[in-house]
Subunit: 236 residues, 2 copies
DNA sequence: AGAGGCTGCTTACGCCATAAACAGGTGGCA
DNA sequence: TGCCACCTGTTTATGGCGTAAGCAGCCTCT
């Protein structure tokens, strides 16, 4: 009746279509704005229709994370590597690529509860964990060495990439209101930036340097240093 | 009339009291459960009363973060240090202490938008950033060296501590339904775990090692390695 | 043709953040 | 003492949210 939409937009729903739309919406408007209702709107469908394919919002976010990591193992295996150093380099770059391609959604990978709660560094995708551990063992690591390496590696990735994507996301959900700020109801520090900055001469002076983005180089040197450290540890 | 509460619980509201209650509630029930309404309930007050002291939920979370970092600079300065290595060690341990004392709230420090958007590694508290930069410069770092060091240091802290607190928080908001599961006879879960695990022999084998918590030692060696790297870089 | 299963829609509930108007008390000042 | 202005917290209302439950149309298979 009221199908004003072209046929292309009225396609059948599917879990993949929903997850894709969710990821798109998250990247465009931020995680908070991605509601079941708005997502339904995006897909030309009522919110409740989505519940046929996802069991709830949590499950959907779970699926978005899984989708991000999809094909990761395949891509890593595609480029066969000779040393474990080269292998870890490849894994790191692969994940960095994912993070940079989805800067808003990437923090979900870290912030959501892990699939296996007992897995201490709780990166979600067990398939990936397995691949890393298996490869390290195949390269002669003992179990202990593999686990320690996995933990240090994970920690490095999370730290570097979270900071890096937070650069790219800064204003994604910033609401700017028209400034009819005649009277501040609350003793406000709206000018907290400037006030603090007046107290922070070094920050002020290095402002340019601080805001320059050298993430790439920093990531590379950090990664190299980490690999060196692991190498040193492994060879006693 | 309906003030059943003892006087002590009916004390005047204040921004500090609200922020403290918020932090407590977050640590106890998770960030999601901390609503204006529940917080009002905790304080024996209607939700709207809070808006006299806090301009909204976002502002409140902002204040919680600020509160976490409160006194940080004072404590760092209290223990006067001689070398920049010792200084950064002290800063790192101070922040780790904060993180471990407030494992559920700590991710807010990283995940909320920074006060100064142009500040690339967006740790929120400008006072702290200033202190680190000033100290490094006072120890002979050039501006470039100070900035690079600050970024690498921040990245390390965020990565290590986020992973560490996520260990301690795993089940904080987990909804446990009363399963009448008396003994461990029944092996099945959501079955997704076991299904994945069946495909992951290495993970399975190292399960014990993976779930052991050696965060402390890992943090120390990682930090030491980072400081060595910085030292090496700084001295050409 | 008829039956049953997909699929998506409608309605409804209880939660949330928050805007706006309001009331009770308390202090200052005559 | 009387009065008024303010500070504090409450009441009421709006619009959004996630999601439980039931319903209606269509597709396919017999």
């Amino acid at each position: 009746m009221s199908t004003d939409e072209p046929r292309s937009a009225r396609r059948r729903l599917s879990r993949d279509r929903i997850v894709d739309a969710a990821l798109t919406s998250i990247e465009e408007h931020g995680v908070d704005q991605m509601s079941m209702r708005s997502l339904g709107r995006d897909l030309g469908v009522e919110a409740m229709a989505l519940y046929r394919y996802v069991s709830g919002r949590e499950d959907l976010l779970e699926a978005v994370v899984a989708n991000l990591l999809n094909g990761f193992v395949e891509r890593v295996e595609a480029a066969e590597t000779t040393s474990w150093q080269e292998y870890l380099q490849h894994v790191a770059h692969e994940i960095r690529h994912i993070a940079l391609a989805n800067p808003t959604a990437f923090p979900l990978v870290v912030s959501r509860h892990p699939a296996a709660p007992w897995l201490r560094p709780p990166l979600r995708d067990i398939e990936m964990v397995e691949h890393v551990l298996a490869t390290l063992c195949a390269r002669g690591f003992t179990d202990d060495q593999a686990v320690d390496t996995y933990k240090a590696f994970t920690s490095f990735l999370v730290g570097s990439l979270l900071l890096e994507v937070s650069i790219k996301t800064e204003n994604i959900a910033a609401v700017e209101e028209p400034m009819n700020e005649g009277s501040a109801d609350i003793p406000e520090q709206d000018s907290s930036d400037d006030a603090d900055l007046a107290q922070a001469p070094h920050v002020l002076r290095m402002r340019d340097r601080l805001s320059q983005d050298h993430s790439e180089a920093e990531f590379e040197t950090g990664l190299e240093s980490l690999l060196n450290r692991i190498e040193h540890t492994v060879s006693h």
